[in-house]
């Protein structure tokens, strides 16, 4: 709880730092130090006796604390990566950090809520901040377009989310997760109103996690937004959305699972197919990552389909693996764009020769994304599939496994490009660059791959 309060304060602090001419250049240091401090502080929330705060509005149970930790850590990494990324105008940097801090606050609400009102506020705090961030590169038409698309579609989806919440309220008379759960588990024949509301609510959440057919915004917004914002969306935001999704469904709707399981399974399949196959046809690296994010969303949804057993730890592990890999990829992307390279896959040609360290690290990242053992990506996929099979979702698991083959194809296409001969005449200038974030991500990927037990045992 203290983390939630303090992150909001940190956002405020950033805004103030941004205002002051003398302090402005420290805004990055301030935010990074603040987030890291919170990350440490967050550890103390583990195993606290009383986890419910403010009339059971938020519940900082293990699940919430664990995900808060991940969100803070990943956010810290994103902030570290953001050096020189918000240089659209001289004065704005602190503001952007402030807004990002608020986004993180929204994300923490989303992982710790135990009342639909908090979920709603969290989602909106997150979204509203992101609308701004997506459009933060004001002079860029792509950024403008991304912001507008994100806003219109996001607000539209909020409508469905709210409609769903309303219906559930109408059926249960409560916004509290525990009460809703009691209602679901208590009555044999749930009113139809409730089911429809549940599904509308699910639609709203599916939109946030960019599951097909509600994914359309994602590739465009990811591509149009500034790189650092995209990396933020792909990691922090996505993890928060999934955490929220899973928290809601596992706490409240597990008892009605036969009602939405099939539909969600169909969504999973559609998401996997669309995500993977669209990524297959991409030549722009950023857009490819966007589609791969959709495909990954399909996998994470599978954890929600599975719901029971180890699904929470599977999702948790997946989040970490996915975030590490995504951040690594974005670190490379940022390296590329800093040198004014186009973000096409072909601009990676010859990297293996020019800068083998970055190439090998990126290769590790891609292997993890493709799910090749013993990287974290493999275990992530493995845990999810295993949980899904354990809960009897054989067909959808098989489809997930097979579509990941398509994924392997395009990730390995990039790997092949990394190590293929450079294009004649083009100078690849990231030869001398290093990225500590990339190194860190690769280390996390390998470490999490070798010692997955450390992570999955947390939420068991």
């Amino acid at each position: 709880m203290n983390v939630l309060i303090l992150i909001s304060c940190l956002g405020l602090l950033s805004l103030f730092v941004g205002l002051s001419d003398s302090l402005r250049r420290y805004s990055l240091q301030v935010i990074v130090a603040g987030v890291l401090a919170l990350f440490v502080l967050n550890f103390f929330n583990w195993n606290q006796e009383n986890t419910r705060y403010y009339h059971d509005m938020v519940n900082f149970d293990h699940y919430a604390v664990a995900f808060t930790g991940v969100i803070l850590f990943v956010a810290a990494l994103v902030f570290m990566l953001s050096k020189d990324q918000f240089n659209f105008d001289e004065k704005g940097t602190g503001d952007y950090y402030g807004i990002m801090a608020f986004t993180v606050a929204g994300a923490i609400m989303m992982v710790s809520y135990s009342n639909l009102a908090m979920l709603f506020i969290g989602i909106e705090a997150l979204s509203v901040s992101l609308y701004t961030l997506a459009g933060s590169k004001k002079t860029s038409h792509e950024s403008n377009e991304a912001a507008l698309k994100y806003f219109i579609l996001g607000a539209f989806a909020t409508g469905f989310l709210l409609f769903g919440i309303t219906m559930i309220y109408g059926a249960t008379g409560s916004f509290n997760l525990a009460e809703i759960a009691a209602y679901v588990n208590g009555s044999k024949d749930l009113p139809y109103l409730f089911y429809a509301g549940l599904l509308m609510l699910m639609v709203g959440l599916l939109f946030k996690v960019s599951a097909a057919p509600f994914h359309f915004w994602a590739p465009d917004v990811y591509e149009g937004s500034p790189n650092i914002v995209t990396s933020f969306m792909a990691t922090v935001v996505k993890i928060a959305a999934f955490a929220a999704f899973y928290r809601l469904f596992s706490t409240c709707f597990g008892g009605a699972s036969e009602q939405w399981e099939m539909i969600l399974s169909a969504v999973v399949v559609l998401t996997l197919v669309i995500g993977n196959f669209s990524a297959l046809a991409q030549s722009n690296l950023k857009r490819l990552l966007a589609y791969s994010g959709i495909a990954n969303a399909g996998f994470m949804l599978l954890a929600i389909v599975a719901l029971k057993g180890d699904a929470a730890s599977a999702l948790f592990y997946y989040s970490i693996a996915y975030a590490a890999a995504s951040l690594g990829a974005f670190a490379v992307l940022i390296l590329l764009s800093e040198e004014g390279q186009t973000l096409s896959i072909d601009s990676l040609r010859g990297l293996g020769k020019k800068n083998p360290v970055v190439a090998v690290l990126f290769c590790i990242v891609l292997l993890s994304m493709a799910g090749i053992p013993p990287t974290a990506g493999f275990f992530a996929k493995y845990f999810i599939i295993s949980t899904a099979i354990a809960n009897g979702h054989l067909a959808v698991s098989l489809i997930a496994i097979l579509t990941s083959l398509v994924g392997i194809y395009y990730y390995f296409k990039i790997i092949a490009t990394l190590f293929s001969a450079p294009v004649e005449g083009s100078e690849n200038t990231i030869a001398e660059k290093k990225s500590y974030i990339l190194i860190l991500c690769a280390v996390i990927i390998i470490a999490a791959g070798i010692l997955p037990e450390l992570i999955i045992s947390l939420l068991r």
Binding site: Y131, L148, G173, D220, A281
Partner: protein, 109 residues
């Protein structure tokens, strides 16, 4: 104040649901049929209002104030969203001189 009970007695909940769904659908229709971003924003407001209406109706029928509090939050959010949305719109208009949502299709495939 016994009017309330009579309202509940004479107007069944289904009517409110019907009305709310109608307004919501009109909002969706507006999103679908218009290209002007301003109108799209207004359609979203309409959808949110449909939700508000329904929420209040449930609140009344349940005799529970939480619904109305929630409506309060929805209004807050709507206001915040409008602020951001209109800011984005201003920015885009400033850059491109148009608020046609379909003209924005540089990002695709």
């Amino acid at each position: 104040m016994n009017e309330i009970t009579s309202t509940i007695q004479v107007v069944p909940l289904e009517y409110y649901i019907f009305l709310s769904v109608t307004l919501f659908s009109i909002g969706v229709l507006g999103m679908l049929i218009r290209r002007n971003a301003i109108i799209a924003f207004m359609s979203i407001e309409l959808m949110l209002n449909a939700v508000n209406l329904l929420m209040v109706a449930f609140s009344a029928f349940r005799g529970d104030a939480k619904g109305q509090v929630f409506v309060f939050f929805i209004m807050v959010v709507a206001a915040a969203e409008v602020a951001i949305g209109l800011a984005i719109l201003t920015m885009i208009h400033h850059n491109r001189g148009s608020v046609d949502i379909n003209a924005l299709n540089k990002l695709k495939w």
